[in-house]
């Protein structure tokens, strides 16, 4: 007789093999569901997607390049340079007779890039710094955090202006100086989170199992920081775009022929008294649309990843 060949045993075995295991939901999956249910955030993702789509495929429809000057119309921009479908200048002309449509595309691309790269720089530096300070602790921690406090005491825009005046203007310096001021708050947030994580049981367990300190930092603490870090960086992106516009507005940011939304706005503001208000209003609407959608997305992420903090 074969062991365990009773009918009941077979039925139970059938049941067990047929049972569909309940799929567990990870924290990220949970967060994703909450984010998708947030109408404002989803609408913002849609609008931002449209803007990105416009930046990508917009150039295909451009009739003029961003450096070409329309000599026929540049004599009387206030009257002939207004936005029009007939002559191919969908957004009108800028003060020098260049096509604003092409320039707005270029500027939007720059501003989005600056936002992402600036936030990414701040994220990497801030996380590494805060992680080390919080995990090592003791004297190292207080020295590192004192340094952050002193830097935080200097007005950030002044640091940016100083850096750009001293080191000269370039794309690279712009990213460096934006990253240089953005990481401070990030490092404080990461440090606080690390401090509370490192006394938890699973870290002790890892240490008892003989995992090296570096590996504990990278494999056990870092993944647990992701929620906080994502939320804060999503709020950093609009801040970086704001800061870049601020610098470009001062004439210290990106230089010609490159342009950014902040620069176009400042040019438009300079000429609005001559009846060419589209030069101000078009880049301004793009700018405000990007910032508002970014805020809503950041809020949505915070609600999704950190539900108790609503």
């Amino acid at each position: 007789m074969v062991f365990g060949s009773s009918q009941r045993a077979a039925a139970v075995a059938d049941d067990v093999t047929d049972a569909i295991p309940v799929r567990g939901r990870s924290l990220l999956k949970d967060a994703q569901i909450r984010f998708v249910q947030n109408k404002a955030a989803m609408a913002s993702v849609f609008v931002l997607g449209l803007i990105i789509l416009f930046v990508v495929i917009g150039p295909l429809f451009a009739q003029w390049s961003n450096e070409e000057i329309d000599w026929d119309r540049m004599g009387d921009i206030a009257r002939e340079g207004a936005p029009s479908l007939a002559n191919g200048h969908f957004f009108g002309l800028d003060e020098l007779g260049r096509d604003l449509y092409a320039r707005v595309i270029q500027a939007t691309r720059t501003s989005l890039l600056v936002g992402l790269v600036g936030a990414a720089t701040a994220l990497i530096i801030g996380t590494a710094y805060g992680l080390v300070a919080g995990y090592v602790g003791g004297r190292v921690d207080s020295a590192m955090m004192r340094f952050v406090d002193i830097l935080l005491a200097i007005p950030l825009t002044l640091i940016i202006i100083l850096l750009l005046v001293i080191a000269g203007r370039s794309f690279f310096m712009l990213f460096v100086s934006l990253g240089a001021v953005g990481w401070l708050t990030m490092s404080r947030i990461v440090r606080a989170q690390t401090l509370s994580l490192k006394t938890r049981e699973f870290i002790e367990a890892a240490r008892a199992a003989g995992v090296s300190e570096v590996k504990i930092m990278l494999r056990h603490i870092l993944p647990n920081l992701i929620g906080v870090v994502i939320v804060y960086s999503s709020l950093l992106v609009p801040e970086m775009i704001l800061a870049e516009s601020f610098i470009s507005f001062l004439g210290l940011g990106i230089s010609e022929p490159y342009t950014s939304l902040g620069k176009l706005i400042s040019e438009g503001a300079g000429t609005m008294a001559y009846g060419t208000t589209w030069q101000l209003l078009i880049p301004l609407s793009f700018y405000v649309a990007i910032i508002i959608t970014m805020f809503f997305i950041g809020d949505g992420l915070r609600d999704a990843l950190d539900p108790k903090d609503r």
Binding site: A153, P155, I161, I166, L252, G262, G268, A269, V288
Partner: protein
């Protein structure tokens, strides 16, 4: 409490000193001096000018003189660009202007922001709440350099109600637009911060207790919810005050108000390092002092804070 204040002061003083030294070296290692121009000066002339401003001394000597002058005489030295003015004059001229519209903008932002946030939280999930939240986010997206041209466009060019710039001794017509432009985005921030803080407080146990024992809503809100609600807001107001003062750069440029921001940008672009350094130190020290006050206010607001 007193020992806490003293300890904080002892931290603040070296912070300011480090700030001065760091800015001093940063600026002195920058390429190009105030006297480099397209037409190079004859070396003897340049040497003479540099001797006059003490730039021929070794760097540590310059730093020492600079520091002792500030500490003993509160003297930031002469301007490199304007021969008849020193840094103190420039600051004394611009700072009161910045301070005037800065303080007004600060008051406007905090009062309107807090009222908006509290009302939104009390009427949670009603149309008032949604309107206030949308206004808050909209306002956040309108920093002063966006608000400036919008205001000028609407009120000066289209409606013709207000003068487009100038200061004129701080008459109210000249003040309205700078104050609105400067305060809008901070107002949005404060409103949203207040709202979420108020919601958290209103959902806490001690408020439920207060309601349960039958207190009228008015007294629940004013007597019990107000103080804990203000905690996170107060810690944000300190930085806002500094931002409002240092952010005046754009307001000065758009509205030609003649505040310190104009002097700062002008000196940065013309490499007038003395003015640049003086204004940086002023702003930095102001930040340190305001942070100190914020921390003390925080300690006063929150009895749980240990000194």
């Amino acid at each position: 409490m007193i020992s806490y204040i003293i300890r904080r002061l002892l931290i603040a003083i070296p912070t300011i000193l480090i700030l001065i030294v760091a800015s001093f070296f940063l600026i002195h290692f920058a390429p190009g001096g105030p006297f480099t121009s397209e037409r190079p000066l004859p070396p003897q002339v340049l040497a003479n000018i540099e001797a006059r401003y003490g730039l021929d001394q070794p760097l540590w000597k310059q730093l020492w003189d600079y520091l002792t002058n500030i500490v003993l005489h509160f003297d930031f030295g002469p301007s490199f660009k304007f021969k008849d003015r020193d840094v103190n004059d420039i600051i004394a001229q611009g700072f009161p202007i910045s301070l005037t519209y800065g303080s007004l903008a600060f008051i406007a932002a905090s009062v309107v922001g807090i009222v908006l946030g509290v009302v939104a939280a009390i009427r949670h999930n009603s149309w008032i709440d949604y309107a206030a939240v949308s206004m808050g986010i909209g306002a956040q997206a309108l920093p002063n350099f966006i608000m400036g041209p919008i205001l000028i466009l609407v009120f000066t060019l289209w409606l013709g109600w207000l003068p487009g710039g100038g200061w004129n001794g701080g008459q109210w017509q000249y003040l309205i637009m700078p104050v609105i432009a400067l305060s809008t985005s901070y107002m949005g921030n404060i409103a949203r911060l207040t709202r979420s803080s108020m919601l958290e407080v209103l959902n806490s146990n001690f408020i439920r207790t207060a309601r349960a024992k039958g207190l009228p809503t008015r007294s629940v809100i004013w007597r019990h919810a107000m103080k804990p609600m203000l905690l996170p807001v107060v810690s944000y107001l300190g930085p806002v005050f500094v931002y409002v003062l240092t952010g005046s750069v754009f307001v000065d440029l758009y509205f030609s108000t003649g505040g310190l921001g104009q002097a700062y940008v002008g000196s940065a672009l013309s490499r007038d390092y003395a003015v640049l350094l003086g204004v940086t130190i002023l702003y930095g020290s102001l930040t340190v002092v305001v942070n100190l006050i914020t921390d003390l206010a925080y300690a006063w607001f929150d009895p749980k804070i240990r000194y």
